[in-house]
């Protein structure tokens, strides 16, 4: 497999506080990777660095063989990195269809949006995505009127509509019911293969269901990597993280 993303020796400092500390990580094309870690481990900052929201103090981010460090967010998005936020971020005053169309439209320039017509293929893709997330019947509803779970899915569908090589997914099941969580896990699994996906979450059941490689972050550093079973056996991980949720579940 080909390496799609490589973070080498990334440090991010917020006024002296090291949110990320010498972080190294590499992702293969087509991989589904889960990243877990206790609160304050730097999970969201880690996504901020990849998507260009935060510039690393040191280190480099290589995507498809090219450094994306210091590039602006929309440039990185156009290179093929899509991002889903922790709480659903969609355009609430636009309809479901309009939301998807904005994600699908290409090229993303003002002139193209004004002068080009949406191709048949793009319209079909919007319909296809609405089918996947079962929102076909709410095509013309304002996205703001959707339920929390539907908003999460709409945002994931918008992400897929952008046709990125790498999807960064931040806590996709926060606030979802168990059933919705299962469906989301299936949705992400079905997307991997064609897409490389990096998922961040707290929910252990959800991560287990993804059945993927897991990376554990702790204090801005990669603590360990491996399958869910390996991780659960790792004494260090149990100490910093896994112990508590296990107890809560019991």
């Amino acid at each position: 497999m080909k390496e799609l993303l490589k973070l080498s020796q990334i440090s991010v400092s917020f006024e002296g506080f090291l949110a990320l500390n010498d972080l190294n990580l590499s992702l293969q094309a087509g991989e589904l990777r889960a990243v877990i870690g206790p609160n304050g481990a730097g999970k969201t900052t880690f996504l901020d660095v990849i998507s260009g929201k935060v510039a690393p103090s040191t280190g480099d981010v290589i995507f498809k063989g090219q450094s994306i460090r210091g590039k602006r967010e929309h440039r990185i998005a156009r290179l093929g990195i899509g991002r889903k936020f922790q709480s659903p971020r969609i355009f609430e005053n636009l309809t479901v269809y309009e939301n998807l169309v904005l994600a699908i439209s290409k090229p993303k320039t003002p002139w193209s949006l004004l002068l080009d017509r949406l191709s048949k293929k793009q319209k079909d893709q919007a319909d296809h995505l609405m089918n996947i997330i079962s929102l076909q019947s709410q095509k013309n509803s304002l996205a703001g009127s959707l339920s929390h779970g539907q908003k999460q899915w709409l945002e994931i569908a918008m992400l897929v509509g952008q046709d990125p090589d790498l999807l960064l997914v931040d806590e996709p099941v926060a606030g979802l019911t168990d059933e919705e969580t299962d469906l989301t896990a299936d949705l992400l699994k079905s997307l991997s293969g064609n897409h490389t996906i990096l998922v961040i979450d707290h929910d252990m059941e959800f991560i287990r269901r993804l059945n993927s490689q897991v990376t554990v972050l702790h204090q801005g550093h990669v603590l360990c990597e491996g399958s869910m079973e390996d991780i659960q056996k790792n004494p260090q991980v149990i100490e910093v993280y896994l112990g508590q949720p296990e107890e809560e579940e019991g």
Binding site: S51, A77, G82, R89, F91, N93, L94, L113, L114, L118
Partner: protein, 376 residues
């Protein structure tokens, strides 16, 4: 705020039939004085369309539209002054002799050309707006900070124009009513009638243009920038570019508006760059209805017409009425009059008064929403 420019059938038709009937009938029943007032207020509607575009859709509250409005006014006034000064000593406008200026300042030269002037009326303000906008937007200055910056820019321009007697007659401004165009006096009744028609046509063209801008994906992105700029960015769009373009277009519209206003009021002066005037433009749009375009036109025309009628009857009371109107809109009609009419406002009012008993029911709400109609 809702996406409200998808105007529901009857309101839109009613308004348009009303506007067009008014425009066609106005010259035959209004005395020239009133016609001239209506023409002025229609020209202000063009600036209001620009404010709606940047504020109502894109969420950029500019308190400095007076800059671009005045630039448009100065462009046409310089041309008219030059057009009339061929018989004067040195062939330069009369006021220069007061300050002992013998030759035309260099930047007046191109305004000898009517063609250049026509283009400059919207191109110069939109270039200035685009430049200012780009600097501000590139540094991701948003919200209140953007508003303060635009107001500060307005004050800078005001002080510059106010102080430059030798360049553009400073605080006195440039008069246009006694100048000549096509051999006629600009302030004459017949010329003013032409200007009314030109204004009416340009208002409709500006409306069609802004509507074309916002009706599809471009407008959707503007709303996206207003509601969640970060999402727009991570979706692969460059908000700086979109905001600069829209701000520049609004500047151009303000320029056209200023030029038309100048020729119909007879003078352009730094008074157009005072702070209250630019804030009034925002009030017209807020009262008419943000994000409706048509509301901006209605707001500009009716508020200004009311202002002149009230000021004639009860001088000094207008400021109270205007302030009260703004408070009413902010507290009771956050979507403006047109936004309220298009939403469930009239139905709620009727049912509160006991005239209509139909209350919105759940399936009805769903049906309304699925048509993309405002339902809150």
């Amino acid at each position: 705020m809702k996406k409200t420019f998808k105007i529901t059938g009857w309101v839109s038709w009613l308004v348009w039939v009303g506007i067009i009937a008014l425009i066609i009938a106005a010259p035959s029943f209004l005395p020239v004085f009133r016609l001239n007032l209506l023409g002025r207020y229609l020209s202000l509607a063009i600036a209001a369309l620009g404010v709606d575009l940047i504020w109502g859709f894109t969420g950029l509250l500019s308190l400095g539209q007076g800059i671009f409005f005045s630039l448009g006014g100065y462009c046409i006034a310089m041309f008219l002054q030059l057009n009339t000064s061929s018989d004067l000593p040195n062939r330069i406008p009369e006021f220069f002799s007061l300050y002992g200026i013998q030759s035309l300042p260099f930047f007046w030269e191109p305004f000898k050309s009517p063609l250049f002037t026509i283009f400059s009326i919207f191109i110069i303000p939109s270039l200035v707006a685009g430049f200012l906008g780009f600097l501000v937007f590139r540094n991701r200055i948003k919200g209140v900070y953007f508003s303060i910056l635009t107001q500060a820019a307005l004050l800078v321009f005001f002080n510059f124009f106010n102080g430059q007697q030798k360049l553009i007659n400073g605080t006195n401004g440039l008069k246009t009513d006694v100048t000549q165009l096509f051999g006629q006096i600009v302030g004459s009744d017949s010329m003013q009638r032409y200007f009314f028609w030109i204004t009416a046509i340009l208002v409709i063209l500006s409306w069609l243009f802004t509507r074309w801008l916002v009706r599809d994906r471009f407008g959707d992105i503007l709303i996206g920038i207003r509601d969640d700029e970060a999402r727009v960015r991570f979706t692969g769009y460059n908000p700086t570019l979109f905001k600069t373009i829209v701000f520049s277009i609004a500047g151009g519209l303000a320029g056209i508006s200023g030029a038309l206003y100048t020729v119909q009021s007879g003078i352009v002066s730094p008074q157009f760059m005072t702070v209250p005037f630019s804030i009034e433009m925002v009030i017209w749009v807020a009262v008419g209805g943000r994000g409706t375009l048509l509301g901006a036109i209605l707001g500009a025309v009716t508020i200004n017409y009311a202002k002149s009628l009230v000021s004639e009857a009860l001088p000094a009371s207008w400021m109270f009425i205007q302030g009260g109107m703004f408070i009413l809109v902010v507290t009771a009609l956050p979507e403006g009059v047109l936004g309220w009419l298009q939403g469930s406002g009239p139905r709620n009012l009727l049912s509160r008064l006991g005239i209509s008993r139909t209350l919105p029911t759940y399936p009805d709400l769903e049906a309304r929403e699925s048509k993309g109609v405002n339902s809150q």
